[in-house]
């Protein structure tokens, strides 16, 4: 692994703004992006990702790579939380294990778009339908997490917390960020198929503005991540190790799946990044509602304080070199 791609990744504006945010906390600057401004950017990014993804999917149509890739994506988001759960159970109770595992099975949209920016920077092609994988990988991990709680939780859980399947589906599919991403994807698809002039009119908002808005949001993510990081200390070294090891492990599985799917290097990187990233939006919101026994500081500090920065700064170039090493290997 050369140092060059890492440095090049770090020198891209979004990553630099992320670092600026993190450093401001380190140096105790009073730089602050007050609530609810970050929410504006997170809503915007979800809307724009979905909308552009929907257009791309409509344009590219369902080629014969699409269906296997999307199925594999869903499969990964079902399997990863199970593996994570087994690992976490060594140290944590059912509730915390399920909640953290679900977060790692699900995805981080901002990590995904950072990987897209990285690919554009490196001039490596990728396909629009990968946004479909992004959208489809958010919910299954939540379902797995909640099912784990439902079946593995101590029998004396109070009645009010017994979860019905309908509640589980509701939390996983109608969660605000899942819903906005999915429905924007549908809007993009419908616009591209029935009203193509609408695409051009949306482009300045969802397209041109995107990179800058990403930078601004990452500035805030840097602040938030650096604020969360110290709380990991209380969580202990097991969880700290987990938040670096788990993405690497997931990336490793992911790259072999990508190879099995014969994905090109661009799509492969995005697939790997989806596997390696962890959710700090949809999953925490759902877990907070349904599994209050789990400590939110655990699943937030790990995903936001360590895994997210790791992926953004070091992970993506590492996964790229992983992809470049494994994908071209001769067939087994």
């Amino acid at each position: 692994m050369e140092i060059n791609p890492i440095l090049q990744n770090v020198l891209a504006p979004p990553v630099l703004f992320f670092l600026i945010g993190a450093i401001s906390v380190l140096f105790k600057s009073d730089l602050e992006i007050p609530a609810p401004l970050p929410k504006l950017f997170s809503l915007y990014l979800l809307l724009a990702i979905g909308f552009k993804g929907g257009i791309e999917i409509q344009k590219s149509g369902f080629t014969n790579q699409v269906l296997p890739t999307l199925s594999a994506a869903i499969l990964m988001s079902l399997v990863i939380p199970l593996i994570g759960f087994l690992i976490l159970r060594f140290k944590f109770d059912v509730f915390n294990s399920a909640a953290i595992a679900a977060a790692y099975g699900s995805i981080s949209a901002v990590t995904f778009i950072s990987a897209e920016s990285f690919l554009e920077n490196q001039k490596i092609a990728f396909d629009g339908f990968m946004v479909g994988a992004l959208a489809l990988m958010e919910s299954p991990a939540i379902i797995v997490g909640l099912l784990l709680v439902k079946f593995a939780a101590p029998k004396n859980r109070p009645k009010s917390r017994k979860m019905h399947l309908s509640a589980i589906l509701h939390e996983s599919l109608l969660n605000g960020s899942v819903y906005l991403l999915l429905s924007s994807l549908i809007v993009g698809f419908l616009t591209a198929s029935s009203n193509p002039s609408g695409i051009a009119k949306m482009e300045p908002f969802t397209g041109q503005l995107f990179y800058g808005a990403e930078c601004f949001f990452l500035l805030d993510m840097g602040i938030v991540a650096a604020q969360r990081l110290p709380r990991l200390k209380n969580a202990g070294s097991f969880l700290i190790g987990f938040s670096i090891f788990m993405p690497l492990f997931n990336a490793f599985i992911g790259v072999f799946v990508a190879r099995f799917l014969s994905l090109g290097p661009g799509n492969a990187l995005l697939f790997v990044v989806l596997c390696a990233s962890a959710s700090y939006l949809a999953v925490p919101a759902a877990m907070r509602m349904t599994v209050p026994e789990a400590k939110s500081s655990y699943y937030i500090s790990t995903t936001l304080g360590l895994t997210f920065p790791f992926n953004i700064v070091l992970g993506i170039p590492i996964y790229m070199s992983l992809v470049n090493t494994i994908i071209p290997l001769p067939p087994l």
Partner: protein, 93 residues
């Protein structure tokens, strides 16, 4: 008259309001975006963008009997996600 102060996670707000409405309180006031720390030493912050939200602070001015009526339900609600409830004296102006 009494004043009831409830502080709990915003995510619990709908449940608490349902409890208040069922007891037929004369009114209530909600302030969102409160942050804080509870006995479990977990600091609640206003991370609205993550969907976690912050705390809500609900004030109810009502008679003691109403509070007695709601006590069990509110305690149930609060025992779910955590939160505190305190009563004090209040006189209408």
């Amino acid at each position: 008259m009494k004043r009831l102060d409830l502080i709990f996670s915003e995510r619990e707000l709908d449940a608490i309001i349902k409890t208040l409405e069922k007891a037929n309180v004369p009114g209530y006031t909600v302030m969102k975006h409160a942050t804080g720390r509870g006995p479990e030493r977990v600091v609640t912050e206003d991370m609205e963008f993550t969907g976690l939200g912050a705390n809500a602070h609900v004030i109810v001015f009502c008679e003691q009997e109403l509070i007695d009526k709601m006590r069990d339900n509110i305690r149930d609600d609060l025992s779910y996600y955590g939160g505190v409830a305190y009563i004090s004296e209040a006189t209408p102006l």
